[in-house]
């Protein structure tokens, strides 16, 4: 069983690397999640793993610990209203604004990939409705472990039954043993890239639509505002950031406005008016 000092140390190291806030009450859950890593690294317990992380100079164990504590709670088409808004307004508006250029969409904390693949399905459906949407979809997460699964596009039966209507399942997936594999077409439609939201997203380019859903609650209030402002730097003119259901714009996000979970730059809102 991890003691309070060990949990505090893990919390400090994880916060430095990913910004995620871990509390003392999470000690049991932290130990459970780190047990597979401890075994893989040849330690008899998480206690031993933490002891080794303390004295290793290369920080590799802390990186792996942070990665293993990354949350993977996601699902296809999470937040139905948000995806409906994307389908009816935001994607068609962005396509119209861009004319013949490709629009760019970023799923900024994509975990195991369900969110960017849901966007790819929406765009595929717009294509079937006669529109000609050309879009680049980027999914990013700081956890390389989660990105490996996202890139593979392989999901369990439980995962494909959460949020994914059956007609979409049989249209876009095929059976692969006990798992379901997303189609090569959709897999090719999403580019996955590692990105830590504590860093500036400049290298990823600019985006018309950014999904920043269900990730801000992992941070402390100060970090939340800083993350939103950094992400907003990647907004193309007229672009929007989408927050998850029931999420609001943190305080101290000057220059941004939020209505119904859609965050825009105040100057572009004025320009549109």
């Amino acid at each position: 069983m991890l003691n309070d000092a060990e949990v505090a140390l893990i919390a400090r190291e994880v916060k430095t690397r990913s910004g995620a806030v871990l509390t003392r009450e999470m000690g049991g859950a932290i130990e459970l999640r780190l047990m597979p890593l401890a075994r893989r690294e040849g330690f008899a317990s998480v206690h031993e793993l933490i002891g080794a992380a303390r004295i290793r100079a290369d920080q590799a164990l802390w990186t792996a610990i942070t990665d293993h504590l990354a949350l993977s709670d996601t699902r296809f088409f999470r937040d139905r209203q948000l995806f409906e808004k994307l389908r009816t307004d935001l994607l068609p508006d962005a396509l119209a604004r861009r004319g013949h250029e490709r629009i760019r969409v970023w799923s900024a904390a994509c975990s195991t990939g369900q969110e960017p693949y849901s966007i790819a399905m929406l765009i595929e459906e717009l294509r079937q409705q006669g529109l000609n949407p050309a879009a680049d979809i980027v999914g990013s997460d700081f956890s390389e472990r989660l990105l490996v699964k996202a890139r593979a596009g392989l999901y369990t039966q439980f995962e494909v039954q959460r949020g994914l209507p059956i007609r979409k399942l049989i249209a876009h997936f095929e059976k692969a043993g006990d798992l379901w594999r997303i189609s090569d077409r959709l897999r090719a439609a999403v580019a996955f890239a590692p990105h830590n939201l504590l860093k500036h997203p400049g290298a990823l380019g600019q985006f018309d639509i950014i999904l920043l859903c269900h990730v801000l609650s992992n941070f402390d209030p100060e970090t939340r505002a800083a993350v939103v402002l950094r992400v907003a730097d990647a907004l193309a003119p007229g672009g929007a950031i989408l927050l998850g259901e029931d999420e609001t714009l943190p305080e101290a996000c000057e220059g941004l406005a939020c209505e119904g979970g859609v965050v825009t730059r105040k100057d572009s809102a004025r320009a549109a008016a």
């Binding site: 699902r75 139905r80 039966q157 439980f158 039954q161 959460r162 949020g163 209507p165 059956i166 007609r167 399942l169 049989i170 095929e174 059976k175």
Partner: protein
């Protein structure tokens, strides 16, 4: 309160589904095979039907095909709940008139998700 008919030859599955669906504020009726389910529908057409595939007396797919021919039988939202997980079987169920399809094993989260996708929540 919406009514849901739970059709499964396993008493355990019926009990589990009943508990979850009652928490979702559905009124529950149970049937152990397709024929019992058809008789229940003729008495009172439910809003939703949670339907197993493989059952004695009358299978879920045969029940569904007959149900859709009955007066008012186009009304209930039918969600298959079965161990059948081949794409061909899923397509067959949709062609026969199923609205949604869930594969066993399931949990409350999946049941909730499927009922939401079928427009029942």
């Amino acid at each position: 309160m919406k009514r849901c008919l739970v059709v499964d030859d396993s008493r355990v599955i019926r009990k589990v589904a009943r508990r979850i669906l009652e928490d979702m504020r559905f009124e529950i009726e149970e049937a152990a095979d397709g024929l019992e389910a058809l008789q229940a529908c003729r008495r009172h057409m439910p809003d939703a039907i949670l339907l197993d595939w493989t059952m004695p007396v009358m299978s879920g797919i045969d029940f569904l095909r007959q149900l859709r021919q009955e007066p008012g039988g186009d009304k209930p939202t039918v969600i298959f709940c079965t161990t059948e997980n081949d794409v061909a079987k899923i397509a067959e169920a949709l062609k026969a008139g199923a609205d949604e399809y869930m594969m066993k094993p399931f949990d409350g989260d999946i049941l909730h998700s499927k009922f939401a996708e079928a427009g029942l929540l």
